[in-house]
């Protein structure tokens, strides 16, 4: 992939350009999250099981999986909070624990409870800034960016869930980092807030940053993410562009003659990935285009009442991918 240096990244921009121009892709360590054989066992249970993954800059990577799939554990290992049982999780080619001023490299929103309820939002960010030598002026800047400009002087315990999320996002942005992790960032946000988060993520990726976002909301991820990573039971199930996942839609045909329907079904089954009956007179065809299905029907001389394309959704793709790995199914 091509790597455009973001405007924020003055120190390493020259290095990225050089490497991108030569090899057609960035050297793997820069502005990237790299997981290699990442494994975390709690007793006999593997929460994360040999995960290999590269989260690349310049795009939003959606991190999906059922409850208990290992998303949060993976993010905690990236931040050096949990020790991997095996394998490694590196940011910019280094382990998180080796950073002296990590907030300038990696911003993270893990949970809304990250601030002491008795401290004001502003003082929380001020302590955070001081820990990494970030100027105090940046605190008011990020408070304004997340829409908490007026609430910075209030104690965190009085914040709504949505305000807590905004404070967490402000913390993630504080060090102007090139790599950002957000665990369920839209939890508790109203529709305006959800749209704001979406635009923020898109904007951060457009600036060349690496953005990893976990979420349960498939429709939201379909709008936000460029790349989607799905894990189940701690293992990688899918790592693909959202567009390619969503485009695995199907073609619906309806045919009023039972004989014609059977003939069409037999002919399509030989060529399509999957053909399923829909009602009494219809078929759902996966893996062929509308044109191809129409041509087959024409050759057979079968009468059609409908020939249409159904766009797939990320949700459908996700549900079929994770059907086997739902830990807490109903």
């Amino acid at each position: 992939m091509q790597c455009e240096p973001g405007p924020y990244d003055r120190q390493v921009a020259w290095l990225s350009i050089g490497d991108c121009a030569g090899a057609g892709r960035c050297i793997p360590s820069l502005r990237m999250i790299t997981l290699e054989g990442l494994t975390k066992r709690f007793g006999a249970v593997a929460a994360v099981d040999g995960l290999d993954l590269r989260v690349e800059p310049g795009r939003v990577t959606g991190f999906l999986g059922p409850n208990g799939a290992g998303k949060s554990t993976t993010m905690r290992m990236v931040l050096g909070l949990d020790r991997p049982t095996a394998g490694s999780a590196l940011v910019n080619g280094r382990s998180y624990r080796s950073f002296r001023r990590p907030l300038r490299e990696v911003g993270a929103l893990l949970d809304a409870k990250a601030a002491h309820p008795g401290r004001t939002g502003r003082n929380h960010l001020l302590a955070m800034a001081r820990s990494n030598g970030i100027p105090a002026a940046r605190v008011d800047e990020v408070l304004g960016m997340v829409g908490l400009g007026g609430a910075g002087g209030k104690r965190v315990g009085t914040y709504s869930l949505g305000m807590g999320q905004r404070l967490g996002i402000a913390g993630a942005l504080l060090g102007d980092p090139a790599v950002l992790l957000f665990d369920e960032p839209v939890n508790g946000l109203d529709p305006d807030g959800v749209r704001w988060v979406r635009q923020l993520m898109r904007g951060l990726a457009a600036e060349g940053r690496t953005v990893l976002v976990s979420s349960h909301l498939m429709s939201e991820m379909q709008l936000t993410a460029d790349q989607v990573v799905v894990i189940g039971r701690g293992r990688l199930i899918l790592d693909a562009p959202v567009a390619s996942v969503v485009d695995r839609g199907s073609v619906t045909v309806r045919c009023p003659d039972p004989g014609g329907l059977d003939a069409l079904r037999a002919a399509l089954a030989a060529r399509a990935v999957r053909v399923e009956a829909v009602g009494d007179d219809g078929l759902a065809v996966a893996g062929l285009s509308v044109e191809e299905v129409g041509d087959v029907a024409h050759r057979l001389g079968v009468r059609l009442h409908e020939l249409s394309r159904q766009r797939g959704s990320l949700e459908d793709a996700y549900l079929s991918l994770t059907a086997d790995s739902v830990e807490f199914g109903a």
Binding site: R97, A114, H116, G118, R119, N123, A127
Partner: protein, 245 residues
């Protein structure tokens, strides 16, 4: 390291806990010093607490009252570490300062400086409260009061670092406070009850009695308290490094 210390300093002074703890320390010191001064005025103090001339130094009363007042300072120091777990902020804190050793040292430094300053103030407050109540039986000399106040500050700094390290090792405020209470207050008199020399020596090496000896002028007892503080820091550092946050 400078950033970690600045962050911990900011965190300490931006919740109400610190003000409650400091107010409690002063109240306990005033009450304790008043009571011990009255004992002294009634000639009820143990003979080894008296000066050669049979009178009582005002600073000695402050040292005695520290046995009670120290718990407000210990609670504050312990909360600097354990509130990270009870309030759920430890993950954020470790994300800011990923080096466990640096974090623990920063917290210890902040706690030690505050405890030292508070201890000096408490020592002076105790002596000021004691002086008028002691009357003729008391001796107030500026130099001696400052010496006693510095000793109280030094002890509180060491025991606070001990509380911080223990808090990191045990994680919970209840377990930490109970352990400190046992080591400082409960176990020593139980060990001393049979009056066996070996048991008395063990009791004297526990942080509470060693601290008392230190405040009464035994410098080597200060090293014993310091050893407890270092041991707690090492234990806390190992837990922070090894266990998942």
């Amino acid at each position: 390291m400078r950033g970690a210390v600045a962050a911990e300093w900011t965190k300490l002074w931006t919740t109400r806990t610190v003000w409650w703890a400091l107010a409690a320390a002063v109240v306990l010191m005033v009450a304790g010093a008043g009571q011990y001064a009255l004992y002294a005025a009634n000639d009820d103090l143990a003979p080894e607490l008296l000066r050669a001339d049979g009178r009582v130094a005002a600073g000695t009363v402050a040292v005695l009252a520290t046995a009670l007042a120290q718990f407000a300072v210990i609670a504050l120091a312990m909360l600097v570490m354990t509130s990270e777990y009870s309030a759920g902020t430890i993950r954020a804190t470790l994300a800011w300062v990923p080096s466990r050793g640096r974090l623990l040292l920063a917290k210890s430094l902040v706690v030690a400086v505050v405890a030292l300053a508070v201890g000096v103030v408490l020592g002076v407050v105790g002596a000021v409260v004691a002086a008028p109540l002691l009357g003729d039986r008391g001796v107030v000399s500026g130099g001696a009061v400052v010496g006693d106040a510095l000793a109280i500050g030094g002890y509180l700094a060491l025991i606070s670092v001990f509380a911080t390290g223990l808090g990191a090792a045990l994680r919970g405020p209840v377990a930490t406070l109970v352990t400190i209470f046992l080591l400082v207050v409960v176990i020593p008199p139980i060990l001393e009850l049979p009056d066996v020399a070996a048991l008395n020596r063990v009791a004297g090496a526990l942080p509470g009695p060693a601290g008392t000896d230190f405040m009464r002028g035994d410098g080597s007892a200060g090293l014993v308290v310091a050893a407890w503080a270092v041991a707690a820091l090492v234990a806390g550092w190992r837990v922070l490094r090894r266990r998942d946050a």
